[in-house]
Symmetry: C2
Subunit: 215 residues, 2 copies
């Protein structure tokens, strides 16, 4: 029963048969122990396992809160545990949501058992396991993004800070107070920013700066 020095795994999966199958697989594999198996996120969050898991396998499609929505909650509840999405769901927005919320990796349910155990180990040791299909989607996602510009070399720290303030809705006066300089100085900064970014308004500047990753 005890996990001993084995890798502790918790499981969140609504389908009973699948859950039991995974539990059997994990418990039956040397070096692995299934310390908990939940049918929903809510259950997992309210009934913590006796032993803190090294890895939480989290299904996406769950009754109640979806797995991709609750990654951050799980991470906060199980401090030190890695969250590994394990799902049939290949939806891009779910992948993004999961990863943004701190999932360590994202693997598909049709992964062969041996591979799955490898992935779990990889996640536990700080890696980022992804099924090939998922990796492809992630990489494809990047190529739809603009290449981060390298005009940051031009922009000085103070100007970047000002840009951040402007993006947060500050006006000249507010930004000036926040930065401890006079309004007129802010005007100067803005002027210089406009020249460097080749723009003529706050909003355009903020837009370019955000897209260039300066903020």
């Amino acid at each position: 029963m005890s996990a001993g020095d084995r890798l502790r795994v918790a499981l969140v999966e609504d389908d009973r048969r699948t859950r039991e199958a995974f539990r059997v697989l994990i418990d039956g594999s040397p070096g692995f122990a299934c310390v908990a198996a939940y049918g929903s996120l809510e259950e997992a969050l309210h009934v913590p396992p006796h032993e803190p898991p090294d890895v939480v396998l989290l299904d996406i499609k769950l009754p109640g809160m979806w797995g991709s929505e609750g990654v951050d909650l799980v991470a906060k509840r199980f401090v030190g545990s890695k969250v590994l999405m394990l799902t049939a769901f290949e939806d891009e927005s779910r992948i993004v949501e999961s990863l943004c919320k701190g999932a360590a990796g994202y693997i598909l349910k049709d992964t062969p058992p041996a591979r799955l155990l490898e992935y779990i180990r990889e996640a536990a040791s700080g890696g980022a396991p992804m099924s090939p299909e998922v990796a492809r989607k992630v990489v494809a996602l990047f190529s739809t993004l603009a290449v981060p510009q390298r005009l940051d070399c031009e922009v000085k720290p103070q100007e970047a800070r000002l840009l951040a303030l402007l993006a947060d809705g500050y006006g000249y006066q507010g930004a000036a107070e926040e930065m401890g300089v006079s309004v007129n100085t802010v005007r100067s900064y803005v002027r210089s920013i406009y020249e460097k970014l080749q723009v003529h308004s706050k909003s355009e500047a903020v837009s370019k700066a955000l897209r260039a990753g300066l903020i």
Copy 2:
């Protein structure tokens, strides 16, 4: 000499010894053929191989233009070829740059030969091979991003279009002309946007919209 039905690989790598080592590895592996080996990106772009490669292995640190900068050029020159970064460079911005410019994958030079060949095959078949370290960096990158908001359901197409115009530096007047409505209508839209986004200035609205992925 001929590639026959083997997987055609081109190589861009400035270090002579490394280049030859990879060439020998590839040519010596059944199912693989090295159809070209270049010492620089410029060379690769000006002297196309006799046979179009299936995969181009691209080093990052090259004399002249860096590999990560020229991924798109390679992709354009070698239509249909996958570009696979092969480098010791683990710099995050280089990874991002490469992937944004269309690299199919990103693997490290210390990859064992057998694994390397696997990766090449994976890239050729439309996959996205990544070394574990790279995958970890990519996933970590996501968790620094904000989770895409789902308030877009609130924002109507016209308002989104207006936001895009404002982000591009248009004023009320310009946006109105662009959209074929009166300035006052634009004011209405802006008002409604401000309410939905809970902001009080163009720049803040643009900032929130960009971060939420509405544009």
